[in-house]
Amino acid sequence: MKILIKDTKFLRDVQLGIENLLLHKLRSFLTALGVIFGVCSVVAMLSVGEGASKEAMDQIRKVGSNNITIESVKSREDEATTSTRTRISVYGITYKDFERIEGTFSSIRTAVPVKEVRKQGRLGGNTLELRVVGTTPAWFELVKRPVEAGRVLTESDLVKESAVAVLTEYGARRLLATRGTIGQNLSIGENNFQIVGIVKSEAGSGTDIQLPDLNVDAYIPLNVARSYYGDTVMKRSTGSEEMNRVELNKVIVQVDDLANVESTAKGMEAMLKKFHPKVDYEMSVPLAMLRQAEAQKRTTNIVLGSIAGISLLVGGIGIMNIMLASVTERTREIGIRRAIGAKKKQIITQFLIETVVLSTIGGVVGLCIGIIIPLLIELFTGMPTVITAFSIILPFFISIGIGIIFGIYPAARAAEVDPIIALRHE
């Protein structure tokens, strides 16, 4: 009951505060403007930051944050040798490397070997430049994509060295291979394959993080790829022919636990270094990229946060300035209230409530505008934005805090007004 009375008294104080602010509508509005802009920029900043990090997280989730990819690349020394004559460069991850990796680390749940060849696929009269991926069934465990039709590769395909292929949805559409064409023959290069399944593929969104699959993939058993296409690939360019001998183009490894990702990556790196005198491989750890992306986000947030912080500070000082002017202007009113019997504490409360009401209203208006800004950013720049509960609650409490912090001094000044002098004040 007592609390109830106290509450209604508080509501009444707030109502009186609002009434007082409404007496000077323009002034109150201009005063609140600082907080409006401040809160606005905080909301916008948080939602843009949140959006960027969500996009990065989504990408990493698609790649798999538990995954580590090792790719065969020509070492820098080899790359530097400019040759006009035909020569063979041997580089990259070997089958032996793959066995060693798979056999050594207990933290590795799945390891997928990948052999890539560019070949033309033909079905009936249609052709499509395919990326033929020679791999194991583990690929489909790691790169989880919905199966549209048929099945994916199996262990028995490998054992039997079956000439079977799994197409992507996009590739199938381009080759007019629909559900009914499963079981039909697809020729890849000079060889014939039986289409056994169609999977969905993620359309690449052009971000830094490369997804493992392309929409022109055709998945075939690794040993079939090896026996059909061999390990040597000829690349012709103007005036030179280049032979590259690469056993595996890629190894993707899935680690059992996020906590083991970095240690496993280090272990693999050390192991590869032992057997490869030249650095002819490249390891990418999405988790490390995530960490990096987060560090970058933190830096951006600090910069944006200080800008927002400064505008809030300026807003708060603006409020304090006006409240000090208001105290001077209302010296007589304060004197009257004190003479009637108001305690200093009550004068402080009155002015503090006014300041907090002003800054909170500014905060709410700023929030409303601040929610629109990210939507506009998304509409015009395509940059993703996310408004979280946090990005609404934080600025709201900040605006209340500003009212309290910058209201205390003017309120204390009001309480120190001497009623005798104030009543003579004209």
Binding site: I336, I340, G341
Partner: protein, 232 residues
């Protein structure tokens, strides 16, 4: 000293009261040893030239100012040593002020102005609205509740001020030149109201420099140079 009333029915009593302001190396003795007591239900006019100490006396009696030395008994309680909060509490519960320049809060309506002491007393809004309406009616402004002070004449404003001073049902009304800003006819009306309130039992202390107005009080106290010159 002069005019020592029976202690038990004195509502106000100043004992050897000094108020000394330092002014550079000099000091100003606004009250220079005042002993006086006012009976409950009395009506006093305090007169004197400017600088005689009558305003200081009024501020001390109104618990707005503290004595440098001496004692002030209000209803038998020594308030001279009280802190700011306790003095505020005393003003809130026992005193009503009427000023020369009315001192209404301009942005508040008549009703809100009258309700002000009740607000600080923590009355609930309905009860205080009820009381404000009653008081406004009793001073003849029952139909002006929603007006702002600026929409009223001087006499009306002073009547609102009286209604406000009565809101907390005070023991003592302190009126500082209540007719100073009013024309003669209106001034007479206000004085009549004060006389009526005195008849109803309120103790009234009024500062004025107009002898005609002072005539209306039952007793007149004349100050000079911080001491009581005489009592009529």
């Amino acid at each position: 000293m002069i005019n020592t009333q029976a202690a038990e029915d004195a509502i106000i009593k100043l004992e050897d009261a000094y108020k000394i302001y330092p002014m550079g190396s000099e000091e100003v003795r606004a009250l220079n040893g005042v002993d006086v007591s006012f009976k409950k239900g009395s009506f006093w006019a305090i007169m004197g030239h400017s600088g005689s100490g009558k305003s200081t006396m009024m501020n001390v009696l109104g618990c707005l100012d503290r004595l440098t030395k001496g004692h002030y008994f209000l209803e038998g309680e020594d308030v001279s040593g009280l802190n700011d909060d306790s003095l505020s509490e005393f003003r809130l519960r026992h005193l009503g002020f009427i000023f020369q320049s009315f001192n209404l809060i301009p942005q508040l309506t008549v009703q809100r102005n009258i309700e002000l002491p009740l607000y600080y007393l923590g009355w609930d809004p309905e009860q205080s609205a009820e009381r404000a309406k009653e008081l406004a009616k009793s001073v003849g402004l029952g139909n002006r509740l929603d007006h702002r002070p600026t929409q009223l004449s001087g006499g009306q404003m002073q009547r609102v001020a009286i209604a406000r001073a009565l809101a907390n049902d005070p023991l003592i009304l302190l009126a500082d030149e209540p007719t100073g800003n009013l024309d003669t006819a209106t001034g007479v009306q206000i004085i009549e109201m004060l006389r009526e309130l005195n008849k109803q039992g309120k103790t009234i202390i009024m500062v004025t420099h107009e002898p005609d107005i002072a005539e209306n009080a039952k007793n007149i106290l004349i100050m000079k140079d911080g001491v009581i010159e005489r009592i009529e």
